[in-house]
Amino acid sequence: MSTEPGRDRVPPWVRVLLVLILLYLFLAGVKALESGIREFGEDLTDSLFERVSNPLAGLFVGILATVLVQSSSVTTSTIVGLVGGGVLPIEVAVPMVMGANIGTTVTNTLASLGFLRRTDEFRRAFAGATMHDFFNICNVVVMLPFELLTRGLTKIAQRMADLLGGVLSFGHGESGGLVQTAVKAPVRLFESLLDRLGCGDSVTGALLLVFGLGLIFLALAYITRNMKLVMAGRIERSLNAVLAKGGGAAAIVIGMIVTAAVQSSSITTSVLVPMIAAGVLTLRNAYPVTLGANVGTTITALLASLAIENPAGLVIALVHLLFNLSGLLVWYVIPGLRGIPLALAERLAFVAEKRKSFVVVYVVGVFVIIPLVGVLVFQ
């Protein structure tokens, strides 16, 4: 105990201020994305829509995009921007959001590979990581056909958006609201700079897209990094409470809060993996935290929708929330179904423990090859 730990030397209030600035940049990024798309006009909308009009193609694009950026927050915020810009119809965006949910699980699955050499720990870690995969896959298997047949999620989201439109007038009012006015400023500045340089509509649109995507990616990465530092003690304390008192509804809420705070479900689920590997956290107690993380991560898209003028942006963000909430209701509240993702994960971990090569087949197959083939087949 003579060794002093390396503590974060930046005062928490400075980090919180930094996060607020980053949040502003994130929203400006979403706005830039929306404006960039509008610069392109209807041609881009039509050509992109033709490519991903099939819902399964949308699902696989969502998986691939999220695996590529390793963050469903980036993907869903981008989708919100695309929907807001009118380039992506909601019916195509819904399966993409569902795909993003599956794609984000690759991060903690990769984290579990760190235990590959220690058989027992690896089996537990791999099951802990892949229960998130199976939950999301099971949820898509149920909710995607439901949505395609009934448009149920979209209809509820539209109702909610109508109600929230008034409440969130700071974001979606007639005059654009406070948030939108604030985030428009840097985008307009960037646009006027491009104008002075004599860039045409297409070039301006492309540069705005790059600028927007870059801001979204960087701002989210640094928000997560800073919030993890600010919140580490609280995360630790609440996970200790999960260990002491077991899973349950409170664990779901902890998963939600922690993930909403750090803006990344991957952080929450990846933190659970070593605890499950060490055997201090059981799979059953980690499960509700993971489900809570799935719901908590939807806050990013909801925030992104504040920067979007088109109410469709809020609708798709709400679909993301409803999809994860309904997954929670189906795969956790119904006792008979609760065990299915866990049993599948345990079975897969058992196979992976016996044949380590299967792990590569699983990760590459589920997160790269199947989505890639899916996009090619269904586009």
């Binding site: 105990m1 003579s2 060794t3 730990p5 390396g6 503590r7 919140m231 580490a232 003690g233 609280r234 995360i235 630790e236 304390r237 609440s238 996970l239 200790n240 409470a241 999960v242 260990l243 002491a244 008192k245 409170a250 664990a251 809420v253 902890i254 809060i257 922690v258 933190v271 659970l272 993996v273 070593p274 605890m275 060490a278 201090v280």
Partner: protein, 224 residues
């Protein structure tokens, strides 16, 4: 459970774990006081047996809790700078848990019918009891206050205490007393020596680098 997230001062997890270590030490002192009084203080062994077992279970439970919290700490932070402190903590909680076990062994003597409260050397035995009990309490204080100076000064005198217990054991081996008189005294000295040695290990955590933990002075004979 959810409230835990919103509690103030969320950045003191290792300090909280160290608070648990102090609690473990104080529980060990409680166990030791009860146990040794059943041997030298005239307390009936059966009367304190339940409380001793409960207290020892508490120490064991706290050890597991500290381990879990360390796993959470490492999982959440992943900071290399905390690693020596985490390793030191895992080492000293084992020492503290052993102190609880030896205290229980002292009670086993009383449970086996040994009562030295009317022995000729009772004053000496009471002196050993008080010294060990105070040593546990002082170690808890030093750990709580991270008082490295006191730890170092205390450690300097404790090697002589260990030597004293060795002499006590040798004296019993060579004594012509009946086994019923010699064996309990030899065992008691042995248990007190082990408790003292484990306390020294705990104290070294404040003054020694991790690799030299438990080896305060290599020139001294081993403390086993």
């Amino acid at each position: 459970m959810v409230w835990e997230f919103f509690k103030a001062s969320g950045d003191q997890q290792l300090e909280e774990i160290e608070g648990l270590i102090v609690e473990m030490l104080l529980d060990c002192r409680h166990t030791f006081d009860l146990a040794v009084n059943a041997v030298v203080g005239g307390t009936e062994a059966a009367a304190v047996g339940k409380e001793i077992r409960k207290s020892d279970r508490g120490v064991n439970k706290a050890e597991r809790r500290v381990r879990r919290q360390l796993v959470v700490h490492v999982s959440v932070r992943g900071e290399r700078a905390d690693l020596p402190r985490v390793l030191v903590t895992t080492s000293i909680i084992k020492d503290i848990e052993r102190i609880g076990d030896y205290a229980k062994n002292v009670w086993d003597l009383a449970d086996g019918g040994i009562d030295l409260s009317h022995a000729d050397d009772i004053d000496r035995l009471v002196e050993l009891r008080d010294r060990t009990s105070q040593l546990i309490g002082e170690t808890a204080r030093i750990i709580r206050e991270r008082d490295a100076e006191s730890a170092e000064s205390l450690l300097k005198g404790l090697d002589d205490v260990l030597d004293e217990y060795d002499e006590c054991i040798e004296a019993q081996i060579e004594s012509t007393d009946t086994p019923r008189d010699a064996v309990p005294r030899a065992l008691l000295c042995r248990y007190l020596k082990r408790i003292t040695a484990h306390l020294m290990n705990v104290l070294t955590s404040l003054v020694m680098p991790f690799d030299r933990l438990d080896y305060y002075d290599e020139d001294k004979v081993d403390r086993d």
